[in-house]
């Protein structure tokens, strides 16, 4: 932890608006030319329960949050109780002067700055949320961050509440900054703005995926609210009128996916965002899409299960469920982006895969990836690389020229049958969810069954090459090779960096961003030189480790797993590695 890399944490009760204040502060830091990584931690309740938002900030790009905290902004005493242990030497706690801290909440090496938060907020307008503005001002003052960026964000964020609110917040922010500055002598860490830095973006996994999907032509989104999947539904709802998208908050998840299938059947690029429990209700229809070869994209932002589990926390425990969900056997793709960049790509690539292979595509995210914010370069969301490839979708002209009856499920060498959508006189057919013949009509003949099963299976022979490939990060050869998938990329990447900083060439890692069909050959090639394999994943049973053994025969030498609802962190990985190596 260099002084060039700070973590600021703001904590308090649910209902205090911590997340949006914290995200606003991260935005200000980003505008100030710094890189941030912001992550929220909250309970599944509307009020009460301890919530916090951590912002890591550095002049260098960041891929993960970290555990140690430099500056704790405590809106209540509970925050101090919970996070004092995480504070670094020389760190500081800012708290409300109205509280008297019990002695066990003091800690040598940590400074305590009392600020009359509630009193000042009342004085300046009354709204409790102004304490957030105030305390974040204090933070800016403490680290020596240019308050102009803070002010610009305040202006943007409070604009729709009117000039009076903006002004009040600006005033209290300034008060905070000055207060913070006055404490600087007792706080060794600084993080100044980088004035000439290029403009950057601050973006969450939810936003990145939604943007990718929109860019990729997603025009129909149906869902039912469920944390942390529904923010994608809500993102699309907010952009629907402007970008010509139909969104539907349906009566339940079953309706949502069936609506999406109906929309896709008639030719729209359609998606359902959900979380594991909602996905469970979509399982039957997933098979319908597989059988009738309807391209549909399912976005599952995982949260800890089983059942209701922990609604506002994170886990990576739905992988094998995604691969095997629904009765019978049919091809599907499972993607698991690891960064916001990859979320964006998964957004558009999933639709190309779905339409080219005429089969469902599942994008697995999780609460951590979906809700954390990261500062990235302006071109990180690569809009210019987006393509829209609708595969063997017959154009109007091709349909005009069609002779003879249209065979929706023609048996072809590739397994892919030219696809029409309803509405053309030359392509009038019925798709049957029962095993069907080339016309689409139910047919129980044994040879036909095998022909259609083989046709569908054939579609994905070799198609794992179309998925994001397993990526090696770090030196080609290393003593330890870590494996991970999805959102574990960031924390593990940082752990690998730190290991190599201490012992150059010690560790590398392979990240899976596409897991089904399993990229066997690429994996075998990447892992051939690996000496010691350790699989790091956010679940209890080791789902990637199982896939690895099943498809390559490699048995991992160790595992680092986490399933307490909190994301993996570099420190967690390193401390568990030491327990293992």
């Amino acid at each position: 932890m260099t002084p060039n890399d700070l973590t600021i944490r703001i904590g308090g009760e649910a209902g205090m608006g911590l997340e949006s204040s914290g995200a606003g502060f991260a935005r200000a830091l980003t505008r100030g030319g710094l890189y941030t990584f912001g992550v929220a931690d909250y309970y599944s309740r509307i009020r009460g329960g301890h919530n916090f938002f951590s912002i890591r900030v550095s002049p260098q790009p960041l891929y993960s949050h970290v555990d140690p905290v430099h500056l704790l902004l405590a809106l209540d005493v509970e925050t101090i109780t919970r996070h004092l242990d995480a504070m670094v030497e020389g760190g500081a706690v800012v708290y409300d002067a109205k509280e008297t801290l019990p002695s066990h909440l003091q800690r040598s090496g940590v400074n305590f700055f009392a600020v009359p938060l509630t009193a000042l907020a009342r004085e300046h307008g009354g709204s409790d949320v102004m304490r957030n503005t105030l305390i974040l001002g204090v933070a800016a003052g403490l680290i020596g961050f240019d308050q102009a960026y803070l002010e610009s964000v305040i202006r943007d964020n409070f604009a729709r509440k009117g000039q009076a609110v903006v002004d009040a917040n600006l005033r209290i922010s300034e008060l905070g900054v000055n207060t913070g500055r006055s404490f600087q002598t007792d706080f060794p860490f600084r993080m100044e703005a980088v004035p000439g830095a290029p403009r950057r973006l601050i973006v969450s996994g939810t936003e990145a995926f939604s943007l990718g999907a929109l860019a990729g032509g997603c025009r129909f989104v149906a869902g039912y609210p469920m944390t942390p999947g529904s923010p994608v539904l809500q993102w699309f709802a907010a952009h629907a009128a402007e970008y010509g998208v139909v969104t539907k908050h349906a009566e339940d998840e079953i309706a949502a996916i069936n609506m999406a299938i109906g929309a896709a059947y008639v030719g729209a690029r359609a998606m359902v965002p959900t979380s594991g429990g909602g996905f469970s209700l979509m399982v039957e229809a997933l098979g319908l899409a597989g059988m009738t070869e309807v391209p549909v994209v399912v976005y599952n932002a995982q949260r800890p299960g089983p059942s209701t589990g922990m609604a506002t926390r994170t886990e990576q425990s739905d992988l094998l469920f995604m691969i095997h969900a629904s009765q019978g056997e049919f091809p599907r793709f499972v993607l698991a982006p690891g960064t916001v960049e990859e979320c964006f790509e998964a957004g558009w690539q999933s639709f190309n895969l779905a339409e080219r292979y005429q089969t469902p595509v599942i994008v697995l995210s999780d609460h951590y990836l979906a809700t954390s914010y990261r500062t990235v370069e302006i071109d990180a969301l690569a809009f210019d690389r987006v393509t829209i490839d609708r595969g063997a979708l017959l154009t109007r002209e091709e349909l005009d020229a069609l002779e003879g009856p249209y065979l929706r499920y023609r048996v072809t060498p590739s397994g892919i049958s030219p696809r029409a959508v309803p509405g053309h006189p030359n392509a009038v057919w019925v798709s049957d969810s029962s095993e069907h013949n080339e016309y689409g009509a139910g047919d129980e003949d044994a040879a036909n069954r095998v022909a259609q099963m083989d046709k569908r299976a054939r579609k994905v022979i070799g198609a794992e090459k179309e998925l994001p490939q397993p990526l090696l990060y770090g030196p080609e050869a290393a003593q330890v090779t870590f494996l991970c998938w999805g959102s574990t990329y960031g924390p593990l990447r940082e752990a690998v960096e730190r290991l190599n900083r201490e012992r150059p060439g010690y560790a590398n890692m392979v990240h899976f961003g596409g897991l089904h069909p399993f990229p066997r050959e690429a994996t075998e090639a990447l892992l051939a030189p690996a000496q010691r394999l350790i699989v790091v994943e956010g679940n209890q049973t080791g789902q990637l480790a199982m896939l690895l053994r099943c498809h390559t025969g490699r048995v991992a030498d160790g595992a680092i797993r986490k399933y307490d609802g909190r994301p993996l962190s570099p420190e967690y990985i390193l401390s568990h590695l030491n327990g293992k190596v």
Partner: protein
């Protein structure tokens, strides 16, 4: 000029001889001819059941989908292409059992669908279990001591759910049924037609003889006013010596769901070319992230 022949399917129906579904199939074809709707202008989404095989037995664009889910699929299809006419055809088990919630939601949303339910008051394809509309006390393989549920009242429920076109047909009255389908097709919004459909194999108590003696047409009923919702609601409970068929309720049309969606004002979703975002759009989107 479309004729019956234009709707001839590739396959012969596999329904039992005498099954009420033949009449429904013929009535649908007749209505399409009457209203000159070509096979590719119509999407029939069906569920799973004997009757749900209907689109396979005529020439039409169709989707023989999942048990209980055709209404949701049809809703999605309408929202993505409201230039296409969409009809749902499914059994009573499909519509009022597995699919009950979708049916009621389509009604309150007023999605423009003709929802035709082949109400044989039994599960045909799975061989004769009692259905949501089976009478209390009915003995079947899943109710050997008699069904204990009170039957669902689909017409009353549809009215309570907000449907503005609620009708009952009878597959033994082909012309009348064809007329009903035509009216439903012209109704701007969700239209339910519950069709009394004899299942001659598993529900012999509700065969043609039973219905022929009892059904009467509301159009012939002096003074019956289908625009009176309370009257319609009461009428929907009439079942016994006399069974009404016809349009029970026709409320003043409400805007359809599709009409109200901002993104659909400029035409069907699928009619717009699928293009990459423009520079200005990308710029605007990125601005939100700064």
């Amino acid at each position: 000029m479309l004729t019956r022949k234009d709707f001839e399917g590739r396959e012969r129906p596999t329904w039992c001889p005498g099954c009420g579904n033949y009449g429904i199939l013929n009535a649908i074809k007749a209505a399409f001819v009457e209203h000159q709707i070509a096979p590719h202008e119509m999407l029939i989404v069906s569920g799973i059941g004997c009757g749900s095989k209907l689109p396979l037995y005529m020439k039409v664009t169709g989707y023989h989908s999942l048990h209980g889910r055709p209404v949701a699929i049809a809703t999605g299809a309408r929202l993505a292409n409201h230039g296409l006419r969409v009809m749902v055809v499914h059994g009573d088990g499909d519509a009022y059992g597995e699919g009950l919630s979708h049916f009621l939601n389509a009604a309150r949303r007023n999605v423009r669908l003709v929802d035709l339910v082949q109400d044989n008051r039994i599960y045909g394809l799975t061989k004769g279990q009692y259905s949501p509309t089976s009478e209390h006390g009915k003995r079947t393989p899943t109710s050997p001591e008699g069904a204990l549920d009170q039957p669902v009242q689909p017409l009353a429920l549809a009215i309570a759910a907000g449907a503005t076109f609620v009708a009952r047909g009878y597959s033994g009255e082909l012309q009348h049924l064809a007329w009903l389908i035509g009216e439903a097709l012209q109704h701007p919004g969700y239209a339910l037609i519950d069709v009394l459909q004899p299942c001659v194999t598993f529900n012999r108590g509700y065969a043609y003889e039973f219905y022929n003696q009892r059904v009467y047409k509301l159009e012939d009923e002096p003074g019956y006013d289908p625009s009176n919702r309370t009257l319609a609601w009461e009428k929907s409970y009439e079942w016994g010596e006399r069974i009404p068929i016809g349009i029970l309720y026709r409320g003043s049309p409400l805007p359809t769901y599709e009409e109200q969606v901002p993104a659909l004002r400029s035409g069907p979703l699928v009619a717009r070319p699928l293009e990459k975002l423009g520079m200005a759009q990308v710029e605007a989107l990125l601005r939100e992230l700064r």
